[in-house]
């Protein structure tokens, strides 16, 4: 994309409504614009990052054998009365009456509707196990929305649901989701720590939240510092292997790690004092096993191998897709702006032309631009008639991980400058080597 043709409304002033850095940077970088309280439009740059994050979630869900589908945003209140949650949910549910005065709602989660689909179509244990998920807009009518997309009212969420014959199978689905989520977050450049959590209105006993450590997190967290040394990395795992998935869960939950909701001082005291840590964390996902809570109230049963009808065991599993943009920025920025991890960056690299209109510089930039595109990369070329300082400022603010700077002086020596946004380190090298270096970086994370 050429910046002269791109809609990138960078703000010069610091937006006053932003209380945290990710909200401020997303507004300043022209990624989002508030439409109403807690409701945002995603401008082209923000939309690109949202889609990159969504794509990683889809790829990792497919790898785990989960099927994508989609449920509507507007649902009938009737189903929610069956589970008992219509009255229990409170004012955060956006309740709506249609033109025929039927009670509807904007879905905050979809346990009821997926259970309704299941009971209509599945009647035998032979069709199990089954896990389906969607990535869809949700609404939660927060009384005081704040922190931009981190605590918005309309938000984009992955929600998945597993149906299993036995508790043991459903706990495998729980473990499989934990493994899959570890991979998912690491691909986004995040360390998200599974912490024992409280189940809230979803229900159930077994639940873990995934938390990203950041000073601006809404939760106070307590953990054994050893847990931050754990990485899932590039291990290969067979998602059908119960023991292998259970071993990952054991490994990642064997150290103390809890939020203030479940914190236990006595247990925490058993962690060696030098490893006790207190910090703040941002919740980016949660997994639940809730047994037969919905299948019993809604009659979602299957015929088992012995011919008897039994309610299925279920769980649900969420990733806050839109909120992740905020979480990533909270975890990865400096005083100049955002620093995107390579896995989610909106453009793979920026090209800055120091002397727009100079034939040689223009030609060199265009060659870089075309060369990167020919390798399947997506560069942003700043071809505006602006001074160098303004171009660098924009690139630093929007946070592309790599920048190639092209100027007449370097071109005389046959070199351009390749700069890492994260380290700030620059290196002079021939244009074709700069292209090869960037291609190599991204081929490692594909």
């Amino acid at each position: 994309m050429r910046l002269s043709r791109y809609f990138l409304p960078v703000l010069k002033e610091t937006p006053r409504e932003a209380q945290i850095v990710s909200h401020r940077l997303m507004l300043q970088a022209g990624m989002i614009k508030q439409a109403s309280a807690g409701i945002y439009s995603w401008l082209p740059l923000g939309y690109k990052v949202l889609k990159r994050i969504e794509q990683i979630v889809h790829e990792e869900q497919a790898r785990a054998g989960h099927m994508a589908m989609l449920m509507p945003t507007i649902q009938s209140a009737d189903l929610w009365r069956e589970s008992g949650r219509y009255d229990a949910y409170g004012e955060e549910m956006l309740r709506i009456k249609d033109r025929h005065d039927r009670e509807m709602l904007f879905t905050p989660t979809a346990e009821e509707l997926i259970t309704d689909i299941f009971r209509a179509h599945v009647s035998s244990y032979k069709d199990l196990p089954l896990t389906m998920y969607q990535i869809q807009w949700k609404f939660r009518d927060e009384v005081r929305p704040r922190f931009g997309v981190m605590r918005g009212r309309e938000f984009y969420m992955k929600d998945g649901y597993n149906f299993d014959l036995t508790k043991e199978d459903a706990l495998h689905a729980y473990n499989r989701h934990l493994v899959s989520y570890l991979r998912t977050y690491e691909r986004m450049g995040l360390q998200a720590i599974p912490m024992r959590a409280d189940s809230g209105p979803i229900g159930g006993d077994d639940t873990h939240e995934f938390l990203v450590l950041a000073d601006t997190g809404e939760s106070e967290v307590f953990y054994d510092s050893e847990i931050t040394d754990l990485k899932f990395g590039d291990r290969q795992i067979d998602y059908d292997d119960h023991a292998a998935c259970a071993a990952v869960l054991a490994e990642f939950t064997s150290r103390y790690a809890r939020t203030d909701e479940t914190h236990d001082e006595a247990l925490f005291a058993q962690v060696p004092a030098e490893r006790q840590r207190t910090a703040r964390g941002i919740e980016v996902g949660q997994i639940f096993y809730f047994g037969t809570k919905y299948s019993e109230s809604m009659g979602a049963t299957v015929q088992g191998p012995d011919g008897k009808s039994v309610p299925v065991h279920m769980g649900s599993h969420g990733i806050g897709v839109s909120r992740l943009l905020g979480a990533i920025i909270e975890a990865s920025h400096d005083d100049k702006g955002i620093i995107w991890p390579e896995g989610v960056t909106p453009f793979h690299c920026g090209i800055v032309n120091l002397k727009q209109g100079d034939d040689e510089a223009d030609a060199a930039c265009l060659a870089l631009y075309n060369g990167l595109q020919a390798l399947g990369l997506d560069p942003l070329y700043d071809d505006r008639n602006e001074r160098a300082g303004a171009k660098f400022g924009t690139m630093d603010l929007i946070g592309l991980p790599w920048r190639i700077t092209v100027g007449p002086r370097g071109l005389k020596n046959g070199v351009v400058e390749l700069t890492s946004r994260r380290t700030g380190e620059s290196e002079e090298l021939p244009p074709e080597e700069a292209i090869a270096r960037i291609a190599a970086v991204y081929s490692q994370i594909a």
Copy 2:
């Protein structure tokens, strides 16, 4: 995907609520399930087709230089009061009050919000031309929703908006959209004819609808039969070339083609009698130029080259993404089921194992399955323990364009059977040739 692991709830009975064939087939093929009146869940097979259609729209919008973004589904009534449409829109608008009693609505279209984004960020003619679009869920509270996804209440739509300095530039944007839409529909295997239309609540004088001819269409259409001979085909076009885009518009609108809303008997009578056609059509898109209707009422102005402030010229352009599934099926089916065009098929081909459990047949199917996947193709392998008739019935119903049938008898001679869903023609050939043939078909449409 192996069918034994896939969630494909094919219905044995004919669903009584379906009045038209596309609705019936989408229910029978397990693509959708009604959640409430006019509101559907997209089961895995339906979701896959929806995503293939969405992807084609995205690719063709990018080709035309339009930028993707996303606006929220829930919007404040205030903006719609500025344009005067809040009161004018009537009961089809789903009106909502949030917990603070603020008036909100589920957006049926987004002229107001995009104009608000524009006026907040763009102030100079130098930032024009600008076209942005989104593919987002919309809601229209139909009094009697029917025909499945063809006339649902919650529907998925591409809506794009252009901002230009002059009427001439805005009419170029109009023409560019017409060209882009012709390409888009043809990639989906559809002939969609641009017809002069009525602007309705969007406003403006210049507007064309795109109609697919089908007996179940909601509109009566009148046209010169010569128009059905026109194809956009694989012409290369420079979307910045005003004259080239205008020539395509002239070519595709020079023959008489109108819906009942704009039909003119006197003009139609001038078409040679043997070329006069009356038929029914399904609307799958519409383009509008409406000048300064929204920019004047909402104060969306830019400073022109002469320093004077002028309201921008605008248009909006829609494609009914979810409705297109219905339209494609109406235009492409037989009495056995759906016949997907290659451009939008959920799986590239089906593999039917005639003797599941036979070592040689199982191994041959697996080799085909892996061989197709290795070429980037997405096959559906029917590995269920079902008799051949049931497997053929499912494949015909869900409409994959190609089927490979594997049985012990053929394998003895080293061959499998390749069958075209559209023609019903079969051919025996070695497995590796079947793979190559299917790969060749899809490489032509990529």
